[in-house]
């Protein structure tokens, strides 16, 4: 009973109930989309994109718009910008990402430094504050989150081909560039959805860590997505409660939990875990 009490009593606070729902949704969306991020080696891109939206957030804040609108605008701009820069053969894609990432982030910080409450705002944007999610923001998180999941399900076959073997996508005459840009936009939307929960600086962990844990436990994409979603949701849930009871910042708490889960699986997973491999290695 003590556990139920531990679990249920915080939910009497409306802000905590909203935070719980937001954390679960963000955990699922980030982790499921994250499977494609890690399978296609787009981790750096995800990290860059989450930093590149900063000017959008600040501008929206200064103009009094919903932050998500500005973030989405700059997310898509940065995604397309990186795409266009790297289509030219002289610039490698990771270089293009680096330029857009750093330049855009600098612009964001510069804009923010002109406002009054620079330090507090920067901390919120960098690390999120899930306990401050408003009712409207919760609706936005669920609306956009379900949209992203819907697109992933609807275009499952096509995204699978693109991730596994892009040349096959050409052979099958799938609209490769369109699908690729759609993926970038999905990542941008997911970042916007998660902004309030984990913030810019730790976004990458949400995208990458639960999906990587799942990749150690599964051998087909649908099960990988399922496990990733579960791990992401449970990590965020646990992190949220740790945050509530021990007064740790919520974003870092969630990321620490999912990192711990990853380490445990990495060490102890029966078939591929490092520990068992060592033990088997010594027996031979």
């Amino acid at each position: 009973m003590a556990f139920f009490d531990w679990f249920l009593s915080p939910l009497a606070y409306p802000f905590m109930a909203r935070a719980l729902l937001a954390s679960l949704m963000v955990g699922v969306v980030c982790s499921v989309l994250g499977t494609y991020v890690i399978l296609q080696g787009m981790a750096f891109f995800g990290d860059a994109l989450s930093h590149a939206i900063l000017p959008g957030i600040v501008l929206a804040f200064l103009a009094g718009w919903p932050l998500a609108v500005g973030a989405l605008l700059f997310g898509v701009l940065a995604a397309v910008g990186i795409g266009i820069l790297s289509e030219r053969e002289e610039i490698r894609e990771d270089t293009a990402i680096g330029i857009v990432f750093a330049g855009s982030f600098a612009l964001g910080v510069a804009l923010l430094s002109t406002t009054g409450s620079y330090a507090t705002d920067l901390a919120h944007i960098l690390f999120g504050n899930v306990l401050g999610v408003s009712q409207e923001e919760l609706w936005l998180i669920f609306g956009l989150g379900l949209l992203v999941l819907g697109v992933i399900v609807a275009l499952y076959k096509e995204f699978l081909v693109l991730a596994f073997d892009p040349t096959l996508a050409v052979v099958l005459r799938l609209p490769r560039s369109l699908l690729r840009y759609l993926q970038l936009v999905l990542i941008a939307v997911t970042i916007v959805v998660s902004l309030q929960t984990v913030g810019v600086a730790l976004m990458l962990a949400m995208l990458v860590t639960p999906a990587t844990t799942a990749s150690l436990l599964t051998k087909r994409l649908p099960s990988m997505m399922l496990v990733a979603g579960l791990v992401g949701a449970l990590s965020n849930l646990t992190g949220l409660y740790l945050s509530f009871y021990y007064n740790i910042a919520s974003g870092p708490a969630m990321v620490l939990v999912s990192t711990l889960v990853f380490l445990l699986v990495f060490l102890f997973e029966p078939k591929r875990g490092i520990l068992w491999q060592r033990i088997r290695g010594q027996q031979q």
Partner: protein
């Protein structure tokens, strides 16, 4: 962009499967292919032979559609390639991420993607096609394996099965036997024979002249330009070979046969090129 549900274009009965009309490709001003023209008729089995850097992989990329020709035209069954899904290709094995979370069944089913169409799930016909393709490629007992658990020969057979599930009418294979042991090579060759008997055309890139001469009806000798195009007996003259291979090849006439020695081989660099996405 393809229509919402895929409708493969009608194939005129007498049109060549693949036709290249004065195709040239240049990578930032360096010519990779110059003025290539040839036709592939239905069911033909053709080897593209040439030294490293001759443009074999570029040629395949142009046919597949990952590279646009700088000039000239590629036609499939007489029309532009945009809607045709009848070209199957078997990737070089080092181009594939073998840790990818997919089973053999999943990979072969990928070949059905265009036929299934958007927003639909595979139906009974698709599952039948996948099963049939696996049987034909002697891979039916591998269906549930994760692709990382396969041997080299098995990997090759799985991609053959994928092209069959795709209902490909011509197969492009880039160095399909590189790195395989002899039994695996023979298994792959036997499957290719079976495809040939069913009227599926084959275009193979290889550096192995001897094998090309034995296995294929026709050889295209390539060294940036198309040096020669004809049946093996006609092409394998020392004059032709030295035009293709230049100083890298030494022709030694012996009493029994003509021996051709290449002074570079193909493993490392050859593995490095291959079907590749550019841009």
């Amino acid at each position: 962009m393809p229509s919402f549900f895929h409708h493969p274009p009608v194939h005129p009965p007498n049109a060549p499967t693949i036709e290249l009309d004065r195709v040239s490709v240049a990578y930032s001003d360096r010519p990779a292919l110059e003025d290539i023209s040839f036709q592939l008729r239905k069911g033909e089995r053709v080897a593209v032979v040439g030294p490293n850097g001759a443009g074999k992989s570029t040629l395949f990329n142009v046919i597949v559609g990952t590279i646009k020709p700088s000039s000239g035209k590629v036609r499939i069954y007489g029309s532009g390639p945009a809607e045709h899904t009848c070209i199957g290709y078997v990737p070089q094995r080092n181009k594939i991420d073998w840790r990818f979370p997919a089973t053999v069944w999943d990979v072969v089913m990928m070949g059905r993607t265009a036929r299934i169409g958007y927003l639909r799930r595979p139906g009974r016909l698709d599952r039948q096609m996948v099963e049939q393709a696996l049987v034909e490629a002697q891979a039916e007992d591998l269906a549930r394996r994760q692709i990382g658990e396969l041997s080299g020969g098995q990997q090759q057979r799985v991609f053959l099965a994928r092209a069959l599930a795709q209902e490909a009418e011509v197969l492009l294979l880039d160095e399909p036997l590189t790195g395989l042991d002899t039994p695996s090579q023979e298994a792959v060759l036997a499957i290719l024979d079976g495809l040939g008997a069913r009227g599926i055309g084959i275009l193979v890139a290889t550096h192995d002249l001897g094998q090309a001469a034995q296995m294929y009806d026709r050889i295209l000798l390539l060294n940036r330009r198309l040096i020669a195009d004809g049946p093996p007996s006609q092409l394998l003259t020392s004059q032709m070979l030295s035009r293709a291979y230049g100083s890298h090849l030494h022709i030694l006439p012996t009493p029994d046969a003509t021996v051709a020695l290449a002074d570079e081989c193909c493993s490392d660099e050859e593995m490095g090129e291959g079907l590749e996405l550019v841009g």
